[in-house]
């Protein structure tokens, strides 16, 4: 692609803010794909809404720049040599057209993608939905566009979990476990409590969540079904239980149990609730996280005298923990990238500040990816291209994200603090 230094610093405030999070795109990548999006035919109000959601989705990835609507060419026939040349003169790489088909009980979208350089149609797709699913239809469409152009699955139709803490007039905290689309919109409340909620974790199918709630006066892990709201404590033991992580096949939860007088990692088989102890150490062992194939877990241990990241190979009998982090005196809360090509974690730098860092398996150094002071809780998108994490600006915590291609965005809340983001798996 062209070497075109296009760093834009735009703030997009959607006109319809019915969620509590506001997306701010603060930086795009330096060499984006240039796409012209013709407003979709059909209902013009829906077309406008659809267009704005899709543009947001694509720009947020940092890999796209969308042609201003005023600059669009009036076109009749697209598959025409001359028309392709006109788009080429405008510097476009791709063109997207589409149609909205609305009936009383259905809302469908047909869309097509044209490669301007190759002068041919590269995709023709249909997405079927019902009338109140415009946002979701838009996300599916943007994911189709993203995948056709980049060859990587899009994450617009994925969802986020996070915790929102709101203080009332008497400074008493209310904690809410929230669910939203990947753009922070379509917010839903899963749980409201007067006691802290931490460490939300998705089931791999996106239908259930596990989290730590202090509602009994002590940290306990609960599982909750998203559509029914049915919830239960995973174990009835009288001990602190925390740090749940779902195995990729959905059959196990790794947990931290405190019954041995110290934080130790266990694996819970959900079918019959049998527990297998994985660590036996005088030091703290916690923050377990499964590998994408489910054959290894990462965890944080204080066994060397400071928190460091270790890996356990579950295929071995009595596996020995292998230390993965060596740089710096604090490395914690690690998770694998989706192809296991590296790990993302919290790193304390020499200046005493906490940042999100990345270490590729093949490299013997770490890459520090963020620059605030108290960055925490990184969660990797299922396509491995984006990371969402918690930051603190002044005394306020909010969510922030970056793509590995260099784009950045923030998701502050209109009310209170937001933290502990967890990115879902692909839901399509």
């Amino acid at each position: 692609m062209k070497v075109n230094l296009l760093i834009f610093s735009i703030i997009l405030f959607p006109t319809l803010c019915f969620g509590e999070l506001f997306l701010e795109i603060t930086k795009g990548s330096e060499d984006p794909y240039k796409v012209a999006m013709i407003p979709f035919e059909g209902n013009s109000r829906l077309s406008k809404e659809l267009n704005s959601i899709m543009q947001n989705d694509l720009i947020r990835t940092g890999e796209f720049s969308i042609l201003d609507e005023e600059l669009l060419l009036p076109i009749q026939i697209i598959d025409d040599e001359l028309v392709y040349n006109d788009w080429k003169l405008l510097g476009m790489d791709y063109l997207v057209t589409g149609k909205i088909i609305k009936t009383d009980n259905s809302l469908d979208i047909n869309y097509e993608i044209y490669d301007i350089h190759k002068k041919r149609k590269i995709r023709s797709s249909k997405v079927f939905g019902i009338p109140n699913q415009i946002r979701q239809l838009a996300h599916y469409t943007s994911d189709g566009i993203y995948e056709s152009i980049t060859g990587i699955k899009g994450i617009a139709a994925t969802r986020l979990l996070y915790v929102n803490e709101i203080k009332d007039s008497k400074s008493v905290s209310i904690y809410k476990l929230m669910l939203a689309d990947s753009d922070g919109k379509n917010e839903k409340n899963l749980l409201t409590s007067t006691e802290p909620i931490i460490s939300p974790s998705w089931s791999p199918d996106g239908k259930r969540v596990a989290y730590v709630s202090f509602e009994t006066g002590m940290a306990k892990v609960f599982i909750q079904d998203i559509s029914s709201g049915k919830r239960e404590a995973v174990l009835s033991k009288d001990t602190q239980i925390s740090s749940p992580s779902w195995s990729p096949d959905g059959k196990y939860l790794s947990l931290t149990l405190y019954q041995d007088g110290n934080a130790e990692i266990y694996i819970l088989r959900l079918r019959d609730r049998t527990l297998t102890r994985m660590t036996k150490q005088y030091a703290i062992d916690t923050e377990s996280s499964w590998s994408p194939k489910g054959n290894k877990i990462l965890f944080t241990s204080g066994r060397s005298g400071s928190p460091q990241i270790y890996e356990l190979d579950l295929r071995k009998l009595n596996p020995k923990a292998k230390r993965l982090s060596f740089e710096g005196s604090y490395n914690a809360k690690a998770s694998y990238l989706p192809k296991e090509e590296g790990i993302i974690f919290v790193h304390r730098a020499d200046d005493g500040l906490f940042h999100i860092a990345l270490k590729y398996k093949k490299e013997n150094f770490i890459r520090i990816l963020t620059e605030a002071k108290l960055d925490e809780s990184p969660s990797v998108a299922p396509n491995g291209n984006m990371v969402i994490y918690g930051i603190k600006e002044g005394d306020l915590s909010m969510l922030a994200g970056f793509s590995l291609s260099g784009a950045r965005f923030k998701l502050p809340a209109s009310l209170g603090e937001v933290r502990e983001p967890a990115w879902s798996n692909f839901l399509r």
């Binding site: 590269i122 995709r123 797709s125 079927f128 669910l179 405190y258 934080a263 916690t286 919290v346 925490e376």
Partner: protein, 157 residues
């Protein structure tokens, strides 16, 4: 296509090869997204009277007791030995730096340090309950040394 709410998703991908160029043709339905929210309000804190209200402070990333905190705990163990009916809830806390789960474990270690001290001074284990709030319940707000030092603590209730 049938539009049942139970249709979680249907996706079909078809690749049509025309010469050397390929066209991707897909059809899919968006997923049903029903959500049920739950509201809980926890029981009011135990009505147990606060018998001792010593607070023990810790160094950054540490869970060992300092000479000063041992002085404060001597009074607590004396009180527990004079009155065998007293039970204690020992709550560990951490400052906001570092990860939440590691801080939960660190708070637990701090609470265990206090419990172990009391046990070594003759207090029975079954009179003590140990737990941690990690960094979730700061006493002092703010991201500075003064607030952090107040938050790295164990409370006895």
């Amino acid at each position: 296509m049938k539009r049942s709410l139970n249709t979680f998703f249907a996706l079909s991908t078809l690749l049509i090869f025309v010469g050397c160029s390929s066209l991707q043709v897909t059809e899919e339905s968006v997923a049903n997204q029903s959500v049920a929210g739950v509201s809980i309000s926890s029981k009011s804190t135990a009505t147990q009277a606060v018998l001792a209200n010593a607070v023990v402070y810790f160094e950054y990333d540490k869970f060992n007791l300092t000479a000063k905190s041992i002085q404060a705990l001597k009074g607590v163990s004396d009180l527990m030995q004079r009155n065998s009916k007293i039970t204690l809830s020992i709550e560990g806390h951490a400052d906001e730096r570092g990860t939440r789960e590691y801080n939960l474990a660190l708070g637990q270690r701090r609470a265990e340090s206090v419990a172990n001290y009391l046990i070594s001074n003759g207090v029975q284990r079954n009179r003590l309950s140990v737990k941690s709030y990690g960094e979730e319940r700061p006493l002092a707000l703010g991201s500075n040394d003064s607030a952090w030092s107040k938050n790295r603590r164990v409370e006895l209730k």
